[in-house]
């Protein structure tokens, strides 16, 4: 933990953080605002406390699919998670070399020219659905992870994608219902953008109600990349009360995506729903080789940042990048 970050954490604790009910105890979740060095772009994170929760859905859920069971008790360490999906403005700092002036908070040398950045997309990845204030979309999981590594190099703070378990824990926010607001699909319009109310486009981040832990657009708007290889029987594979489970990737597809999107039906926005990535998400890339950075057919996928409270040593972090980016 850097001194700068610690100071900021203390600062945030003094501010009026959302009052949150967590397992019958009313507590305040600390929030934290990260500015990207050399820019005016910032984003907010909420500290999710360590705890246990039931992952998956019960058989009583009429929309439950086989890959959502059986219900498993899962234990997680504390982590910070973005209150919003990663915005276009934030992702664009990484995309466009000229927006990166080389400033950094990190203790190690940062060379903006040495950063591996996305190649130009074949077609407009936003499909004209909007940029300023909207979530970044259409990136591959590889691109999302490359972004995280760049953000670590800029800020000195270890950011990564959430694991599937972290994502679901944060989305549930202490609930065991189908959605974080309850079971009734009729309430969904207050909380999420889905096919029936989205007018076939994503919307400005944070325009619907947040979940109980202050996280916006966990249901809908855009689906969110997780860190895991998708495995249909993931929950059956877990040991007794696993801690921080993560299905480590061994192949490019399928990887896990959570949350559902503007292009999904309401039942696909349920907290427990699991979506598999697919090579089909590049089906309209007519070129070979196909882009490693962009999908031509997934303007419904974006991502959200996680920052573990205990990120480990710089060596651990470098080993993590080496593994997930196949460096």
């Amino acid at each position: 933990m850097t001194r700068r970050y610690f100071a900021c954490l203390l600062g945030c604790l003094m501010l009026a953080a959302p009052r949150i009910t967590l397992a019958q105890t009313e507590i305040q979740l600390p929030t934290f605002s990260q500015t990207v060095p050399g820019t005016a772009v910032s984003f907010d994170m909420v500290c999710i406390p360590a705890g246990t929760f039931q992952m998956g859905s019960p058989e009583s859920d009429p929309d439950r699919e086989a890959d959502e069971g059986p219900l498993r008790m899962v234990e997680l360490d504390s982590f910070w998670i973005g209150t919003m999906e990663v915005s276009f403005e934030l992702y664009n700092l990484f995309r466009e070399r000229e927006l990166d002036n080389g400033e950094t908070n990190a203790s190690f040398a940062y060379d903006a020219d040495a950063v591996t950045r996305p190649s130009p997309p074949y077609e407009d990845p936003t499909f004209g659905m909007g940029k300023t204030g909207y979530p970044a979309v259409s990136m591959t999981q590889y691109a999302a992870l490359r972004f995280c590594k760049w953000l670590w190099q800029k800020t000195g703070v270890f950011y990564r994608l959430p694991t599937e378990a972290e994502w679901e824990y944060a989305c549930r926010a202490g609930t065991s219902t189908r959605y974080s607001f309850g079971d009734d699909i009729a309430d969904l319009d207050e909380y999420g953008w889905h096919y029936d109310n989205s007018d076939e486009t994503y919307h400005l981040c944070g325009t619907k109600k947040p979940n109980p832990w202050g996280l916006y657009d966990m249901h809908g708007n855009v689906s969110e990349w997780c860190l895991d290889q998708y495995q249909a029987n993931f929950l059956t594979l877990l040991p007794e009360q696993p801690k921080n489970p993560w299905q480590r990737p061994t192949s490019l597809h399928p990887r896990t995506v959570k949350g559902g999107s503007w292009d999904d039906d309401p039942e696909e926005l349920r907290t427990s729903n699991r979506i598999e990535s697919s090579p089909n998400w590049k089906k309209r890339d007519p070129q070979i080789p196909k882009s490693f950075w962009w999908n031509t057919d997934s303007p419904f996928v974006g991502f959200r940042l996680v920052r573990p409270v205990n990120p480990g040593t710089e060596e651990d972090i470098r080993a993590f990048w080496k593994q997930v980016l196949d460096e």
Binding site: E96, G128, K131, P286, I288, P289
Partner: protein, 431 residues
């Protein structure tokens, strides 16, 4: 799991690669066996993709020859195709059937039954004519030319192709995309009445540049950076915006009679950006007096928009797959997320037709007129004049070089400081 991935999985299990092995029963195929030999001319990313799509059809397709101006492009293309893994048993290209240079196309055409033409647009008239003269079926990328003489050459070859019943598919893939075909059919059936005005857009961030290398001739530099030179690319209004202009004409069931507009270079002004504009705005007029308003832009950091929109006497069609009443009530909406890629569909249809010995695809004539629509727009923005269809079509102004050789001069040359002459409205002659 969601529906999107489910469909994908089941499609893999039942069709695709497995079906590629199934024999084509009764074919009227001219070589007598069921093998369809394809040759690729132009081995860039898109050409390589077109080859992969041809090899992914259900027919017994073999890639037997490849041609490119550059050896390294050809080698990369073959390497990338092999890297995909799934086409290996259908790639029969050998050292002897790799052809390099300006004349490579002749040898490729000789060896195959179907020619895939994905060279820079300026070369397509030459390559298409040669393919049709040799009696070959063709898949050809859009646009099909960069100047009027090229368009006329395509039209002449298109007539020959028709007479010989040679199938030709042009890569205006929206015509093979269900979201569009279903939508346009309804518009043709009067879903929104008469089309009063049309808006079409290709506003995007732009494309790649390739740095000048030591020892490169000017011809090689321009060929490597073909996007930025009119004789090769036609400007981005021709190279990309043609898709949307084609949809405008398709819905209208007509070609425009004139165009006026403006354009220029605002942000993309470097030596590396050759001579093309970075924005065009054109108003096209149809014979019935209705208009098509067109915008295309290559600028980073701006709102992007690539779409088509129609206003009718009795409703609106704001975007592909959507039809509304004048007051905005949704009458029809098409959800396309499980549809196959239109880039694949165009090849599926072409090769099925060829295997069955049928003649169903004659895209070249429309391809030529769609190209001319875009060229007419460019003529309007470059010159600042109103350009009429017949004048555009009959223009004798050729953009092409006299000699095709790497040591020959291309038709446009940089000044002493490396900048190229830029078209100037009010001054530039386009007819």
């Amino acid at each position: 799991m969601n529906r999107r991935t489910f469909i994908k999985t089941s499609a893999l299990a039942t069709g695709g690669v497995v079906a590629a092995q199934s024999a084509v029963a009764e074919t009227g195929w001219l070589t007598g066996d069921d093998v369809i030999r394809i040759g690729l001319i132009g081995c860039g990313g898109r050409g390589t993709g077109a080859a992969a799509q041809a090899l992914s059809t259900k027919q017994n397709v073999r890639l037997v020859a490849m041609g490119d101006a550059f050896r390294d492009r050809l080698d990369d293309s073959l390497k990338n195709l092999r890297k995909e893994g799934q086409y290996d048993d259908r790639i029969e290209v050998t050292e002897e059937t790799k052809f390099v240079g300006f004349e490579a196309y002749r040898s490729v055409i000789e060896l195959c039954d179907v020619v895939l033409i994905a060279t820079p647009p300026g070369f397509r008239p030459i390559h298409f004519e040669a393919a049709i003269d040799a009696g070959k079926h063709v898949f050809m990328e859009k646009p099909v030319a960069t100047d009027a003489p090229g368009v006329r050459k395509i039209l002449a070859a298109a007539a020959k192709a028709k007479a010989q019943k040679l199938n030709v598919v042009v890569g205006l893939q929206r015509r093979y995309q269900k979201k569009y075909t279903e939508w346009v059919e309804r518009l043709h059936n009067g879903a929104i009445g008469e089309i009063i005005s049309t808006r079409v857009y290709w506003n995007s961030g732009g494309v790649w540049t390739r740095p000048r290398q030591e020892g490169q001739t000017e011809m090689e530099y321009q060929m490597r950076n073909w996007y930025y030179f009119n004789w090769l690319c036609g400007d981005h209004i021709v190279e990309q915006h043609i898709h949307n202009l084609d949809v405008g004409n398709w819905v209208k069931q007509a070609y425009p009679v004139s165009a006026m507009g403006m354009g220029g270079r605002q942000v993309r002004t470097g030596k590396e950006h050759g001579e093309i504009f970075d924005h065009h705005s054109v108003e096209y007029e149809y014979a019935d007096g209705s208009r098509m308003f067109s915008q295309c832009r290559h600028m980073k950091g701006c709102q992007n928009r690539v779409t088509e929109s129609f206003h009718g006497s009795n409703g609106n069609a704001p975007k592909p797959g959507l039809i509304e009443t004048g007051s905005g009530y949704q009458l029809w909406k098409y959800r396309d997320r499980n549809d196959p890629s239109p880039y694949q569909v165009e090849h599926d249809e072409l090769f099925a037709t060829i295997a069955n010995g049928e003649f169903k695809h004659a895209d070249a004539e429309n391809g030529a007129y769609a190209t001319l629509t875009a060229i007419m727009g460019r003529m309007a923005t470059y010159s600042g004049q109103i350009i009429h269809w017949d004048d555009a079509l009959n223009s004798e102004l050729s953009l092409m070089p006299r000699t095709f050789a790497f040591d020959a001069d291309p038709p446009i040359l940089p000044d002493e400081s490396g900048f190229y002459p830029i078209p100037t409205p009010g001054v530039t002659r386009v007819l």
